[in-house]
């Protein structure tokens, strides 16, 4: 039998017709699309994200005694208790696939909103397609500063972006300098994809503005088999602060190579990513006593706000890890989105969008050390205050800003 293109088409059409088309939920259920890498090099991030969202789902759909939007009571009050259902899709870190999957989520699964994506490059296409379909997209954990500046109406980001994070780092440096610590020279070390490039650019710009000297600006190929040459250059520069923007794999190799080449930096202030991952500290934590990373979230907030600890326990039960920078943003992103849908009292994209734009959640009703959640006209929350965390004795301790800090920074690293 000759298999013609026609047969393939008819087969595909039939399959599509048989797939359960979840009708846009009226009152019983709200469907949200979650798009992450579930295969390939960053598959672990997708797996972790899934656990974070499932934790948020528990809080929303079941009755939970937290001072958090939607925690009390089951489901979304604005829609008569409708429960939220998540549909997961894999974008394999490819912008084109991200777009195709998002379109499938919107047209076949009939999601009311989309949340994602880990990789900023995929967020570009996912947000574009959501804009075209007028479906809100919540950028839970993308930190590229350019994302909210593209004139999109349906793009929302509750968490900080790289310029805000980098500014916090330099605020910290300024504060230390005022107390007499010598911080004049910096070494930037960043990988070469969007994350590293944005981070490196932001840091270089702010350093210039605030009078810090950059002795080395090293861009390296991510997932390099060897970082000896790069570390050698860092060692030669011997700056006051090493500022890495690296993912887990490169972070592990960086720390090991530094030990191999006998380079002990005065201080390391990292742009998160790999430096907030358990896998990195399992591998090289013993060499990182005193490392500082920017963050969005600090676990020690649980001391002042017990619900943070309880929610962390819920997450840990599912994943075996503590909430970290990424998973906390993912958790919060879904809460914010679901809250908006509830306030919109509708599952229509435009109404949800307007509700998101009207969001105003005070910081203490979140698990984040932020002032509040309120989106500007570009969809960015400018009140998401980053924090700086220091790895001390196997735990992360918040050291900056003063209102969130529970300890003084140890400087230099031991």
């Amino acid at each position: 039998m000759t298999i013609t293109r026609r047969d393939v088409l008819l087969g595909a059409t039939a399959t599509a017709a048989l797939m359960p088309l979840a009708a846009r939920a009226q009152t019983s259920e709200v469907v949200i699309g979650v798009i992450y890498p579930f295969s390939g090099a960053s598959a672990q991030q997708g797996v972790d994200a899934q656990k974070a969202y499932e934790t948020a789902l528990e809080v929303i759909n079941k009755d939970a005694d937290f001072d958090l939007p939607l925690a009390k009571g089951e489901g979304l009050p604005g829609l008569g208790g409708a429960k939220v259902r998540l549909v997961f899709a894999d974008h394999q870190a490819d912008p084109q696939k991200g777009r195709a999957e998002t379109e499938r989520l919107i047209t076949q699964e009939k999601v009311s909103a989309v949340i994602g994506t880990y990789q900023s490059s995929v967020a570009v296409t996912v947000s574009q397609i959501c804009e075209r379909y007028q479906i809100p997209f919540v950028s839970a954990d993308n930190s590229s500063p350019s994302l909210h500046r593209r004139g999109l109406k349906y793009y929302f980001r509750a968490s900080p972006h790289d310029e805000m994070y980098s500014a916090a780092m330099f605020d910290f440096f300024d504060a230390l300098k005022k107390k007499g610590t010598k911080i004049e020279t910096l070494a930037l070390f960043h990988e070469d994809t969007i994350f590293g490039t944005d981070s490196g650019n932001a840091q270089a710009k702010i350093a210039g503005e605030r009078g810090y000297k950059i002795l080395a600006d090293i861009k390296y190929r991510n997932n390099s088999p060897s970082l000896s040459a790069e570390v050698q250059q860092l060692k030669s520069a011997n700056a006051d602060v090493l500022m890495p923007s690296s993912y887990t794999t490169d972070g592990i190799l960086l720390v090991k190579t530094m030990a191999e080449l006998g380079y002990k930096p005065n201080a390391i202030v990292a742009q998160d990513a790999g430096f907030s991952e358990k896998a990195l500290y399992d591998a090289v934590g013993d060499k990182l006593e005193g490392v500082i990373s920017r963050g969005t979230f600090s676990l020690d907030l649980a001391q002042k706000r017990p619900m943070v600890g309880k929610i962390n326990d819920m997450f840990k039960a599912k994943s075996g890890k503590d909430l970290n920078d990424l998973t906390s943003r993912q958790f919060m992103g879904l809460i914010v989105l679901a809250d908006a849908i509830s306030r919109a009292k509708s599952t229509e994209g435009e109404k949800i969008r307007d509700a998101l734009a009207a969001t105003d959640i005070p910081g203490d009703k979140t698990i984040m050390p932020w002032k509040r959640i309120k989106f500007d006209e570009m969809g960015q929350n400018n009140d998401a205050d980053p924090v700086l965390l220091q790895y001390v004795g196997g735990k992360f301790v918040t050291i900056f800003p003063p209102q969130a800090a529970i300890a003084e920074a140890t400087w230099p690293m031991k």
Partner: protein
């Protein structure tokens, strides 16, 4: 900034890494050279060797240095099995044999990655403590990390042993002869399949050895083979297919070129140096430096 010490350190690190690249590549060179077969799953062979080393450490607390021979032996079996189950049929292809080899091993690579993700999860593993891990020797201010140093010495030893094996032993000559003329050797009573299976086993065992050493200082996850695979292919091609010594020389050249390029260009472009040197070499010598095929 670019002191003499920094340059010497870069070159020393590059040399060690180059010898390691050579060790990773020699298995590929062997299989290439003797059977004219591309193993597109070479990076994945490295990956499972690293996982095997990791699990021997995690479950039985066997130091990678000690488990290296075990891993090599296990990989020997694995390599032979891959030949018997897949490659043997690929080589029989009456048409497009080259493409069939490339794509059947490419499919194998994808399956191996999927299986690794399925069984081990995509999370990153690392061996935290081992006999050599994290230790460095310092000679005149030049740091030589012990795992890479041992790996480099092992690489030299492996090449030497392989050279002797191929040129001085009966089996080695049988491998050569089988490559030259499979039909003729059958007449002399040599089973082509047996010889090739053992050849694949040997190639895989060498990768196993390098994987065990790499596991001491490198991170492990399902896609870890990808970064090394391309370097391995370029190393072998640079040295010339069919030449074990070529792979050795190729590795050293690649390591040194990589280190030197990073001194001149931004490090994110250091691979460009390797690729450019490859193109330069084959432009002048289309069969690589020492290639015979």
């Amino acid at each position: 900034m670019l002191t003499a010490e920094a340059i010497i350190q870069s070159l020393a690190s590059g040399l060690l890494m180059g010898l390691l690249y050579g060790l990773i590549a020699v298995g590929l060179a062997l299989i290439f050279g003797l059977m004219d077969v591309v193993n597109f799953a070479h990076g994945e062979f490295l990956m499972i060797s690293m996982y095997a080393t990791f699990f021997l450490f995690a479950f039985f607390a066997i130091d990678p240095l000690l488990s290296a021979p075990l891993v090599a032996a296990a990989m020997f079996v694995f390599g032979a099995v891959v030949y018997l189950l897949i490659v043997r049929f690929a080589m029989r292809a009456k048409a497009n044999a080259g493409m069939v080899q490339i794509f059947s091993t490419f499919g194998l690579a994808i399956v191996m990655r999927g299986l690794a993700q399925f069984f081990f999860t995509p999370d990153y593993r690392s061996i935290p403590q081992s006999a050599l891990g994290g230790k460095t020797i310092s000679i005149a201010g030049i740091f030589l990390p012990e795992p890479q140093l041992v790996g480099a010495l092992l690489s030299i030893a492996a090449f030497g042993a392989l050279y002797l094996f191929i040129n001085r032993t009966d089996f080695g000559r049988a491998l050569e002869a089988t490559r030259e003329d499979p039909g003729a050797v059958a007449l002399v009573g040599i089973d082509k399949n047996r010889v090739f299976a053992l050849g694949w086993g040997l190639g895989a065992a060498l990768v196993g050895l390098s994987g065990a050493i790499m596991a001491i200082f490198f991170y492990i996850y399902p896609d870890v083979g990808a970064s090394f695979a391309l370097i391995a292919y370029v190393t072998v091609a640079l040295g010339g297919f069919g030449s074990v010594f070529g792979a050795f020389a190729g590795g050293i050249i690649v390591g040194l070129v990589e280190a030197t390029t990073a001194l001149i260009l931004p490090p994110s472009l250091k691979s460009v140096g390797i690729y450019a040197v490859y193109l330069l070499v084959v432009f002048i010598r289309p069969r690589g430096l020492f290639g015979s095929m």
